[in-house]
């Protein structure tokens, strides 16, 4: 759910390492998930999405893993670069339910810092 009042957790990695950002969701009816990247002073940008009938989806240098049993989502970034430094948000939606009017529920967010 939305924890807008909390300070965001942080993850620091060295350039070239792999990064794993985690997200727990609470709505067991959620069947569509998105990861967003927000650079400083900008709006969030879509990175990758996954439907609940999948447990893994790969993009360019990014992989999203979904574990519906424990309601856990993760974003893996391979060979992390300084340009990957940003805040990463997960988001969920119940598209099969059809009653949420397309409203995404955003997770807390994680600050990723990549050191050269």
């Amino acid at each position: 759910g939305e924890s807008v009042g909390l300070h965001l957790p942080t993850l620091s990695v060295q350039e070239g390492d792999n990064s794993i950002i985690n997200c727990a969701y609470s709505n067991s009816a959620s069947d569509y998930f998105i990861w967003y990247k927000q650079e400083s002073g900008k709006g969030p940008q879509f990175i990758i999405d996954i439907r609940s009938n999948m447990d893994k989806r790969q993009g360019q240098r990014v992989t999203v893993l979904l574990n519906k049993t424990v309601k856990h989502l993760s974003l893996q970034i391979a060979a992390t670069q300084p340009g990957d430094s940003a805040v990463y948000f997960c988001a969920e939606n119940d598209i099969a339910g059809g009653t949420s009017y397309g409203k995404l529920t955003f997770g807390q967010g994680t600050i990723l810092t990549v050191h050269p």
């Binding site: 939305e2 807008v4 009042g5 569509y32 879509f46 948000f89 939606n93 995404l104 955003f106 807390q108």
Partner: protein, 116 residues
């Protein structure tokens, strides 16, 4: 292609002054529209969403209001700003039903509001 415009980019306003932030979307019809606020180092808080002209839903009680006078125009307003209204305001749009072929939200570039 669809684009979203949000202005102004930054705004400094005195306490008690009015506010009007505007957001417009191009290249799509009947979008869902959203206003979010983000405090520094915090998550995304949904303020308002709209599924059609004149249809506004408020997520949290506050000093702000929203209006949708046209299909692709969403306005965030206040009659008298409070210090606590400072933050980063984001407008977003989506299609009415989200999903893997339709994506999630597309965010604007944001407005940094400082109330002094």
């Amino acid at each position: 292609s669809q684009t979203i415009h949000q202005w102004p980019a930054t705004l400094v306003q005195p306490v008690g002054s009015p506010l009007s932030l505007e957001c417009t979307v191009e290249g799509t019809s009947n979008p869902n529209l959203y206003w979010y606020r983000q405090a520094a180092g915090r998550g995304l808080q949904l303020l308002f969403y709209s599924v059609g002209i004149g249809q506004i839903s408020s997520e949290v009680p506050q000093n702000l209001s929203a209006s949708r006078p046209q299909d692709r125009q969403f306005i965030l307003s206040s009659k008298k700003l409070l210090l606590s209204d400072s933050g980063f305001y984001l407008c977003a749009w989506s299609v009415s039903r989200l999903g893997p072929s339709r994506g999630g939200y597309t965010f604007g570039s944001g407005t940094r509001l400082t109330v002094v």
